[in-house]
């Protein structure tokens, strides 16, 4: 390990001041401090607030599972769905959660390939968020079906040879969804787990309890930190990053096909794939900020998740939020330019029909709120950013609601027009899904390192042998 005193003896040319990048870890923290700070979170007993938060979350989760049991035993009618709105909150929640997952994959895969080193402080939590969000997302399309017991039986949605020789219908976007979401969930989980291995070994080596040592030992797969291990690990990580990158684009494109492939005005739109992907990243970064801003201050990790990180993520919000805003405008333009009165009506109805409030909630949250982030002062005010991130989450939920419900409730034949109102079961199931999400996230905080220890250390100046503070210098 280098010490500043020793390295001062080496006459390394100082880079010009304007080329010196701002350090990603503040206050010149040592590598040991980083390990202690992050590993300490899951080694020390949880702070007092954790327990009430956990109990409330578990309560929400159990509510959701009970309501799903009610739904499965009684019928989809316990939700507020009807004709013509045969999908509403169920698919809204599905797209909402799956969209949130996208920030994790983008941060972990795309930013890794683009060598955005700042990702290291946020990728672990973002990937965990992705997996938990995909778990929440998966529940809705599975249980929204009328006969779950057949939906899950091989030979229906999952291709399997069966006596009737009927295969799934490969033209249906819902089937593409099955493959897209399950691939996404699997790859995200693998990616997360592979990234965890070195840190799990760190925790194993530091752990005092027998149980902890056993489980961390089991899941760190005998990691010793040898050069061969690191070499294999980095190859695997790079490969998984390569595999995940197309998923960032494909998953939400396919989710958007659920709508774009249909014939319903307001759904049948070629702009959907890019628009959905941008929206997903927008919502995902919103959720990352919602989670990380309290996390960094509650566990005193401000030196690792710095204001610069917040600032950069706000810029992502600004960029994707602008794309989303552009897409909203373009939809209206095409509805007019396309010349179909049905299409035009669908969009007029969105803005001025019975669901006008949901449309304008969406516009104010998604189009207006990110534009505060043109100002650096606002980008680095954590309280302000946190509040805006909540609005982004709300706005993106409304976006999906607007797309699904306002298009369905008034389509081609005015005689079948209707109105959807959620039932209490709809509402509590959605609230309960936050319980599941938060339960998983709180357990993650409790048992796993919330920041990738080894990766953060890798981007500190101390880890760079050519840096004046570089670790290698002292030994030469």
């Amino acid at each position: 390990m280098a010490s500043p005193g020793k390295s001062a003896a080496v006459k390394a040319p100082e880079p010009p001041a304007e080329l010196v990048r701002e350090s990603l870890v503040l206050n010149n923290r040592s590598l040991g401090w980083i390990t202690n700070a992050i590993a300490g979170v899951c080694e020390k007993p949880m702070p007092m607030w954790w327990w009430p938060a956990f109990i409330v979350s578990v309560g929400g989760m159990l509510t959701m599972f009970s309501l799903i049991a009610y739904l499965v035993s009684t019928g989809v009618g316990v939700w507020g769905l009807n004709h013509p709105a045969a999908w509403a909150w169920d698919i809204t929640n599905f797209v909402f959660w799956i969209g949130i997952g996208h920030a994790g994959t983008l941060i972990s895969a795309v930013l890794f390939l683009l060598r955005q080193k700042w990702r290291t402080s946020v990728n672990r939590a973002a990937e965990a968020m992705t997996i938990f969000a995909v778990a929440c997302a998966g529940i809705f399309p599975v249980f929204h079906t009328g006969r779950v017991w057949f939906a899950l039986l091989p030979g229906y949605l999952f291709p399997a040879p069966n006596a009737n020789e009927i295969w799934p219908q490969f033209r249906s976007p819902l089937l593409w969804d099955v493959f897209a979401v399950s691939t996404y969930g699997t790859v995200s989980l693998l990616f997360w787990y592979v990234g965890l291995i070195p840190d799990l070994a760190t925790l194993r080596d530091r752990s005092k309890g027998v149980m902890r040592r056993f489980f961390y030992g089991l899941f760190s797969l005998g990691w010793t930190g040898s050069n061969r291990h690191w070499s294999n690990y980095e190859k695997a990580y790079l490969l998984l990053a390569g595999l995940s990158t197309p998923l960032v684009l494909s998953v939400h494109s396919i989710v958007s096909f659920d709508f774009a492939v249909s014939v319903i005005p307001g759904w049948h739109t070629t702009i959907f794939p890019p628009y959905f992907v941008a929206g997903a990243i927008f919502s995902g970064f919103g959720m990352v900020l919602t989670l990380l801003i309290p996390l960094r201050s509650l566990f005193k990790l401000e030196d690792i998740v710095t204001l610069r990180h917040v600032d950069l993520m706000c810029k992502v919000l600004l960029a994707t939020g602008s794309i989303v805003g552009y897409a909203y405008g373009m939809e209206f333009f095409i509805a007019w330019y396309g010349g179909s009165p049905y299409e035009l009506y669908a969009f007029k109805n969105r803005a001025f029909g019975p669901y006008w409030w949901s449309y304008w909630a969406m516009i104010s949250c998604n189009v207006i709120s990110p534009h505060f982030f043109w100002f650096k002062k606002l980008r680095t005010s954590v309280v302000f950013v946190w509040i805006v991130s909540i609005f982004v989450n709300i706005g993106m939920w409304f976006e999906r609601f607007v797309i699904i419900v306002t298009s369905l409730h008034r389509d081609y034949l005015p005689s079948s027009w209707g109105y959807f109102t959620p039932s209490w079961v709809d509402i509590m199931t959605f609230v309960g899904s936050f319980g599941l999400f938060m339960t998983l996230f709180l357990l993650f905080i409790r048992f796993l390192p919330v920041i990738a220890i080894s990766e953060v250390k890798g981007v500190t100046p101390q880890a760079d042998p050519h840096h004046p503070l570089g670790g290698a210098k002292g030994h030469h």
């Binding site: 019928g75 004709h83 013509p84 009328g146 819902l174 034949l413 209707g418």
Partner: protein, 551 residues
Amino acid sequence: MVLHRDGSVDDGRFANNGWLQEMPDSITKVTWDNVVMMSQKTAKSLGLPTKRSGKIPEDLSPAEAADAKDGQYDQPVVKITVGGRSVEGPVWIQPGLADGTVALALGYGRRIVGRVGRGVGFDAYSLFQSTSRHITAGKVEKVFRKHRLAVTQEHGLMEGRPVIREAHLEEFKAHPKFAQNMDLEAHFPGYVPYKEETDGRNAEKRPQNIYEHPYDQNPETASKVHQWGMVIDLQTCVGCSACVVACQSENNIPIVGKDQVARGREMHWMRIDRYYSHNPEVDVNAELAAEDPQMAIQPMFCQHCEAAPCESVCPVNATVHDEEGINGMAYNRCIGTRYCANNCPYKVRRFNWFDFNKRESDYGAAQDQHLVNTGNLYKGPLGVNRNTEPEWEIIKLVKNPDVSVRMRGVMEKCTLCVQRVQQGKIAQKVKAGNSGDVAVPDGAIKTACQQACPADAIVFGNMLDAHSEVVKAKASPRNYSVLGFLDTRPRVTYLARVRNPNPVILDLEKRKTPDSQRDYERFRHESPFQEHSHGHDASHQSATQAGKGAV
């Protein structure tokens, strides 16, 4: 004040019949209730609320004079007193009803009735006078109470969409093919959806198609003997709804009760759409014009599209075509994603939200009424299972043994009475013996709706039989497909309605064309009775005649 027999329960003798109680009234589309009908002007003069809060521009909503949410109309209640006797009932603003008139249906509110008719409507017989059903002296007062009505059609205007196509006789004579010159398909160069169908289907290739027609992908799978088709004549349909009940009885369609109807979950495979239209030019006062509407009705059910949007989105192949052009449902394959219903442009698919066949519905009980055993559907496995009641053994006999009874969680819709089609084919095969003449003669198979139709407005038959009634009907210049521009190529087509108004009754100077046609022209800035001003239309006209896609 007029007391009239009801279209559903007649004088009350059918008040315990669930099919009839759930059958929407031909005009109001109210189920499980009778109403106090009056015109908007009358309601206004009585100080009753006549407008819905901001849901639809009011000049377009003569029929929407209630606070409706998804078929749940919370209507103000009035008390009607005649000679010391009074009844209370929900107000219904009925466009077209004469001002100063109040109409009440008899037959509801029976006190001694079975469990189906219990608590349904109010008893207008209290006002009945032995001398006349027309009462000239009475008092209508507001009661500060609301009553929820379950209505199956929330929106009563076509919004300028040519769903029902109408013309006056003179216009029709001058432009017999007007119905084929409407909506977006009139703008597609070379689009020839109505070519005489000699080979049994809409075989004409449409140049703008990027997808191959499903029948062209596997032509060998299509039957060369039968291709079923249907035509509905809007000219003769009177909207009596007999077809709706015939279909319900034939196809084991459950009743769902008032509460579920109000939630938009009625299961009818057929519905009779009722549209109002009005002409503000007749009277500059739009509100008064709303008092003088024209009405058009249209039976709507699965259109059996050849390129069916529902089929391509089902992930498990539960809805597929058979070789004879019927869009069928494999109930035991369906997992209930409901994507098919969402993607159906005609919204004719019906989902079993609950075990309607197994659990008793609330019948006519409103949510605010506390009757025994309500909310049974919502109790799931804890509710009463009818299958375990001995009485149910008898009730089960009402089911048609040729048709599957569907459980909760599956989608269903019109099958063109596939069970009757199969019976007809089998009977013909038996008759044919070795002769090989398996083509069912025209008229041998009748669908349930067709059989019940008193006006012969429904024609069903084999489109491969050049002499069949259905082929003749489809050759009519009035033949058109609803939403034909979607290129779903429905097997069910409609014959446009031609009105022959009496110039003494209707001011033809102001109403040159039916109001719905006028609305279409006003919304779309084009008329089917004129050449389009667009560049491609000269070729369009010749293309229609030549049957070729010249651009």
